[in-house]
Point group: C2
Chain length 135, copies 2
């Protein structure tokens, strides 16, 4: 795999796994929908199910510990077809209204589900600092 | 979801995402095959592709920072069908030969791919301390 293919696989993936680190230094995982805009990943905290404190843990973690990692991957029983792409970066909660609007526009363009109901929650932005992939 | 269903979904999942924390405190992600034995998850570092230092990062991380998290999840375009199960625990590299053999037996029973070629690398064990799930 090369950088161009890694980027294409990330762009096309419908779901990713987001890893943050808790204030106590433990890893915390959650799947998320996302979109890539330039070299920034945007993900919204939506309300398709009742919100819980757990659903918002990722935002608390990012505020106290901005280093995050995001993974997309493909699994198949033919293990010669496996691949993954991971990016490391710094997370931040969007405060700028223009950037928030742009992120919502990108998310709506990728996911028809968001066109029916714009996610009302905070938006997490992750500026990509490092790419990794396999094979 | 309840504990019994969360456990069943974890047992049945063919692939998980493993999160470790680097010595610098950054999250690190990799997909992995795994098996649940009692309340311990076992995962082998196999050699289906040429090993790289990256492939072994997870073991270095666990040695310096044993808190790990593991996620299995289901994605579908019908977002009412989404679910995830995550377990937090402490990782350790197996040294006991009997436990290593048992883990390889369990992995071979779950994955026909391992019956053709026993994974030659280290085995990571994660003792589960906490379950989380959604919805």
């Amino acid at each position: 795999m090369d950088q161009a293919r890694a980027r294409r696989l990330l762009v096309e993936a419908r779901v990713a796994v987001l890893a943050t680190v808790t204030p106590e230094g433990h890893p915390h995982l959650v799947p998320c929908c996302f979109v890539l805009g330039g070299d920034t990943i945007y993900s919204a905290v939506d309300d398709i199910k009742p919100k819980s404190t757990l659903a918002l843990r990722r935002l608390e973690n990012v505020r106290s510990h901005p280093a995050v990692s995001i993974l997309v991957h493909h699994y198949a029983e033919d293990w010669s077809a496996l691949w993954w792409v991971s990016v490391d970066g710094r997370g931040r909660i969007l405060e700028d209204q223009v950037e928030s609007g742009m992120a919502l526009g990108l998310l709506g363009a990728k996911y028809a589900q968001y066109q029916e109901a714009t996610p009302p929650g905070d938006i997490l932005a992750v500026g990509i600092e490092r790419w990794r992939w396999w094979p």
